[in-house]
């Protein structure tokens, strides 16, 4: 049955339903969908690589700001409590909740930073049209594998809910880290939309050969 098939490099299979397609060049800003299940298999955006890299760098720097500056400040009855993102994580640090503190730290800070770092590492040389670094494939695979576990956007919605719960109780001041964190969320969403796995794997592969 394999005799009438084109060379393997010209084929692409849908990762979700295994349907075979023939790969060919796509006009700019076009998307190719799977013929059977309809998911997007590849997109072509001019200069996507450079845009992904610059957004990842921006998000990385803003994330550092988001964990260093005060996040929220609470005032009530003459008492004052400033919270950073790390304090929010350490809220779970007593006894049985410790594993949860570690998990929350990973979901909102560590995993987003690992993803951004890995993307910058893998795509940096490609933008300058150099050979990929050693381990670039592993780095990109990790960045994509961790995608569902990076929950910064969910955290920011959680913060909004918490703010409304507290609003009646005390005066809350929003610090610079809150806006930095919101920025990270927006930029990350924009960046993830630009990522076309197929194209990036193709470039990583061809640049190594």
């Amino acid at each position: 049955m394999t005799t009438d098939l084109p060379p393997l490099d010209e084929l692409v299979a849908c990762p979700q339903c295994d349907t075979l397609h023939r790969a060919h060049s796509l006009p700019d800003n076009a998307r190719a969908h799977c013929k059977r299940c309809g998911i997007v298999i590849m997109t072509s955006q001019p200069a996507a690589m450079a845009r992904i890299l610059s957004l990842a760098l921006t998000a990385f720097i803003m994330m550092i700001a988001a964990i260093s500056f005060p996040f929220l400040t609470l005032d009530a009855g003459g008492l004052h409590n400033a919270t950073s993102v790390l304090d929010a994580v350490l809220a779970f640090n007593d006894g049985y909740a410790f594993p949860l503190a570690v998990a929350v730290a990973f979901f909102i800070v560590v995993i987003p930073l690992i993803r951004l770092g890995a993307l910058i590492y893998a795509l940096g040389p490609l933008v300058r049209e150099q050979k990929p670094r050693e381990g670039a494939r592993t780095a990109f695979a990790i960045a994509e594998r961790l995608r569902p576990w990076s929950m910064a956007e969910i955290f920011i919605v959680g913060v909004t809910v918490a703010l409304i719960k507290v609003a009646g109780l005390a005066a809350v001041t929003i610090g610079p880290a809150f806006w930095a964190f919101a920025g990270v969320v927006v930029i990350t969403v924009l960046k993830d939309q630009l990522i076309c796995r197929y194209s990036i794997w193709e470039v990583l592969d061809k640049a190594t050969r």
Binding site: L8, V12, P15, R22, S25, T83, V161, K165
Partner: protein, 210 residues
């Protein structure tokens, strides 16, 4: 950059005697074990997929029980100490008149987890029965489950930020309850369950039956 055009008839990589990499889409001969493009592992179908799906799902459903029975938040103020469960927190928000927020919390902590349990059970059962019906709808359901499951974490983060922020010695303090831990575990387990589901099996029904 490449693109996907269709082969004349829709055939799967497995029917063509090939195996596709789920990570990068590259196609290989069936014997290949490691993808030459991305070094990812190659498996035509994950034979243990359903076992893993059921195992994680049951773990997630068990963890969801204490998450609802025990308190999520322990609040102490000058006048009183109170504990609130997931549902208790939603009711409280309703009484305060915060309808929108109450709806968001209810959706994230009750509707999404329960809906996800039902959706995964339905998907796993339909694959076991080699059902050929509603394949597009089922694939859509799988995509929705994968996308929306993480959003259940909202309530855990609300508890995290509240207990960090509201630490005003005698006036008011908020601390996390044990339910926050089991709820987070439940969300993590069901996410792993959804990830273990091999969506290619939805489309395999006609072949495995024949």
């Amino acid at each position: 950059m490449g693109s996907a055009g269709q082969s004349d008839a829709l055939i799967t990589a497995r029917d063509a005697g090939l195996v596709a990499c789920q990570q990068c889409g590259q196609v290989h001969r069936l014997e290949a074990r490691i993808c030459t493009r991305c070094n990812g592992p190659l498996r035509s179908r994950d034979a243990e997929s359903l076992q893993k799906v059921w195992a994680w799902l049951i773990a997630g459903m068990i963890a969801y029980i204490p998450a609802n029975l025990y308190p999520m938040l322990l609040t102490s103020t000058l006048v009183e100490r109170s504990e609130s469960t997931i549902i208790g927190g939603v009711v409280e928000l309703f009484e305060h008149g915060s309808w929108g927020i109450a709806t968001i919390v209810f959706a994230a902590s009750v509707m999404i987890p329960v809906g996800k349990f039902i959706a995964i059970i339905y998907l796993a059962l339909s694959v076991q029965r080699h059902s050929e019906q509603n394949r597009h709808e089922r694939h859509k359901a799988y995509e929705v489950v994968e996308f929306i499951g993480r959003w259940s974490m909202i309530d855990v983060f609300v508890v995290a930020i509240l207990s960090a922020l509201v630490q005003l010695d005698t006036i008011a303090t908020v601390n996390p309850g044990i339910a926050a831990v089991s709820f987070a575990l439940s969300v993590i387990f069901t996410m792993l369950s959804a990830q273990a589901f091999d969506s290619r099996m939805i489309w395999d029904a006609d072949r495995t039956k024949a």
